[in-house]
Amino acid sequence: MSRYSERRKAIEASLDHQNHDGKEKKVNSKRAVNQHLTIEGDKEKFKELLRRRLIECGWRDELRVLCRDTIRERGIHNVTVDEIVEDVTPKGRALVPDTVKKELLQKIRTYLHEKAFK
């Protein structure tokens, strides 16, 4: 099967589910988009772009400090990854600059638009 028809199938599959109830439709189209992005390798590119932007704006360094604080607070031998994740995730999400979110959203939207109508 060609790459193109693979892509078409994924997108059509997401459209087919429009008759189902809202939640399932959302889940399915999310899966289709995810599959498509993975197959094309573009998911990695988006991730890399995000990674670069987060390093560039200092988010990575801020998060490093937050993690260090949590580890220091709880003691290096009593802390688990889960605890750090739980502690840092809400703060980390809040620290992502709006410009970065906007840029990624815009690019993903443009990308999906281009692909869906090709």
């Binding site: 599959q35 390798g41 990695e44 590119k45």
Partner: protein
């Protein structure tokens, strides 16, 4: 947590090696080809709840995917006694028996290798690897517990420079150089290795000492008599107590630094990498930071054959004169601008009155120029002397872009200073002046163009990059130093504005340093403008 994993991991490594990890990593974490990516896309979901995210893990013993947040991978581990699992977005190894992620040097090396391979196959360039202190650095840090913290408002890096008699041209350049972020980092980490007995009078060593002085925390002004003397010996045309041109001094300094770096370069083994990437280009710190590549396309008007050459440059000198270099006939001019009507309208207005912004100057610099009937060039394609057009574009951007506004006009009859106000932005996007961007525009006449308006707008940047939609190259710059010339051609004075920490600007007038603000900097006349790349490519 240590770097040999945990007993469970050691056990599985002893019996099966790292091969299993490698297979899982190259298929599901960093899929390196389209087959693997397809497999990953179709098969990677939690066997229990069917979700694709929530920290999906793959069992290291059998074929099983389970999510962490739903506790499904942990259930599998306990049930089957398969305690080790690989997390699928970063490839870290979870040991359910130990209840945490475990790190093993062998596996980490495999992961890095595969990550880089997958990245380069997708054309993403080198990946970021955080800085890790070497054992030597750690030892030094332990031995020297005293730390100096850089907090906002601290005056570190600001030193006045005594005027030794018309040496403001040197002082302002030194201020700009010492506040070049990458150059500062290079010298403060003592990257310059040189044997003084082999290299008497090495300017790089002198500059290295100068950087240490600047950032030592002392506040008194410095005297640069040694530096001045060295420049006099190595660049004879600048010797003497006369007024000199700051731009000339800048170029001469870079040239001497470059020559001296080269002389001591073989001692530096880490240069090999960049040498391989740029065989014809030197890998010294000066070239790494300041050298860009200028592409010159000469198009024969008879056969439309293009001959392309690429020349290195350290700075870009921009004409401010009215009309500029001969524009030739309007038709060639229009093709170069594509169907961008709004822009070309604006442009033709500018050609009458001279440029008013840095963007105008760059537009003029990179547009096709008709060479005229008096300057026929032999075309390699049709083997005859023909009229042609020439266009300059940026092939490779330097880390530091230095713009020289040609304010001093020296023609046969008159010498004068052009004091026209040229506005320059704090943030500059060089994308519109890149070779590939310009050429695309010429070929396809794509109407949607980015000009000065989109330079600060990241959303616009996406549209302007057109076909290469997911390109990761970033051509944004920010201003970090401005050198101004006050007075006339015969009697003038140089001052510099430098950016200390992110948004703190200072005015350096020989030994006097005063606080400034961005607006003041942007309102100044501007003679030399220094921009630093915002995002560096990793090598």
């Amino acid at each position: 947590m240590c770097d040999i994993g945990c007993p469970h991991l050691q056990e599985i490594k002893a019996s099966k090696g790292v091969e299993l990890y490698r297979i899982i990593f190259s298929s599901f974490v960093a899929a390196s080809n389209s087959v693997a990516r397809k497999r990953k896309a179709i098969h990677c979901y939690c066997f229990v709840c069917k979700s694709v995210d929530y920290r999906l893990h793959s069992c290291l013993n059998c074929v099983y995917f389970g999510c962490y947040n739903g506790h499904h991978i942990q259930d599998h581990a306990k049930h089957k006694k398969h305690y080790l699992a690989v997390e699928l977005s970063h490839g870290n190894v979870l040991c359910v028996a130990c209840g945490t992620y475990v790190y093993d040097d062998d596996l980490l090396n495999v992961a890095h290798e595969l990550m880089v391979r997958a990245g380069s196959r997708l054309g993403m360039g080198a990946l970021y690897r955080p800085w890790e202190p070497s054992t030597k650095v750690l030892e030094l840090l332990r031995k020297n517990p005293k730390r100096r913290k850089i907090v906002p408002g601290v005056a570190i890096g600001l030193r006045g420079l005594i005027n030794l008699g018309n040496t403001c041209f040197m002082n302002c350049i030194v201020q700009a150089l010492t506040h070049t972020p990458l150059l500062r980092d290079h010298f403060l980490t003592e990257e310059h290795v040189c044997r003084p007995e082999d290299q008497p009078g090495c300017l790089v060593c002198e500059v290295s000492t100068l950087f240490q002085e600047f950032y030592s925390g002392n506040k008194g002004p410095l005297t640069l008599h040694r530096l001045l003397h060295m420049i006099w010996t190595h660049a004879r045309h600048l010797a003497g107590y006369e007024q000199q041109d700051a731009h000339e001094f800048f170029i001469a300094t870079l040239d001497v630094l470059h020559r001296h770096c080269k002389a001591s370069a073989p001692a530096l083994p880490e240069n090999e990498n960049s040498q391989r990437d740029n065989p014809h280009q030197c890998s010294c710190i000066i070239d790494t930071i300041f050298t860009g590549g200028l592409q010159s396309d000469v198009v024969c008007q008879a056969c439309k054959g293009v001959s392309t050459t690429i020349d290195p440059f350290w700075d870009i000198s921009l004409d401010l004169g009215r009309g500029g270099n001969n524009i030739g006939d309007d038709s060639s001019f229009n093709t170069s601008m594509g169907s961008d009507l709004a822009l070309s309208g604006e442009q033709s207005k500018q050609t009458n009155s001279g440029p008013t912004t840095l963007i105008d100057c760059l537009e003029r610099f990179t547009r096709a120029e008709h060479l005229g009937s008096s300057a026929k060039i032999k075309c390699n394609n049709c083997q005859s002397y023909q009229e042609s057009t020439k266009q300059l574009t940026m092939k490779k951007l330097p880390v530091v872009a230095s713009f020289h506004l040609k304010r001093f006009e020296h023609s046969s009859r008159l010498h004068k200073k052009i004091s026209t106000y040229i506005s320059f932005p704090e943030q500059l996007d060089m994308t519109p002046f890149m070779s590939n961007h310009r050429n695309n525009r010429n070929l396809f006449n794509s109407g949607a163009s980015s000009s000065s308006s989109s330079s600060s707008d990241s959303a616009g940047e996406w549209n302007s990059s057109g076909s290469g939609s997911l390109s990761l190259t970033d051509n944004r710059y920010s201003l970090f130093a401005v050198i101004n010339h006050l007075g006339t051609l015969d009697a003038g004075h140089y001052t510099a504005y430098v950016r200390q920490q992110n948004n703190h600007w200072f005015k350096c007038d020989d030994h006097m340093i005063t606080k400034a603000n961005l607006q003041e900097v942007l309102d100044s006349e501007g003679y030399l403008l220094f921009y630093h790349k915002k995002l560096m490519e990793f090598q």
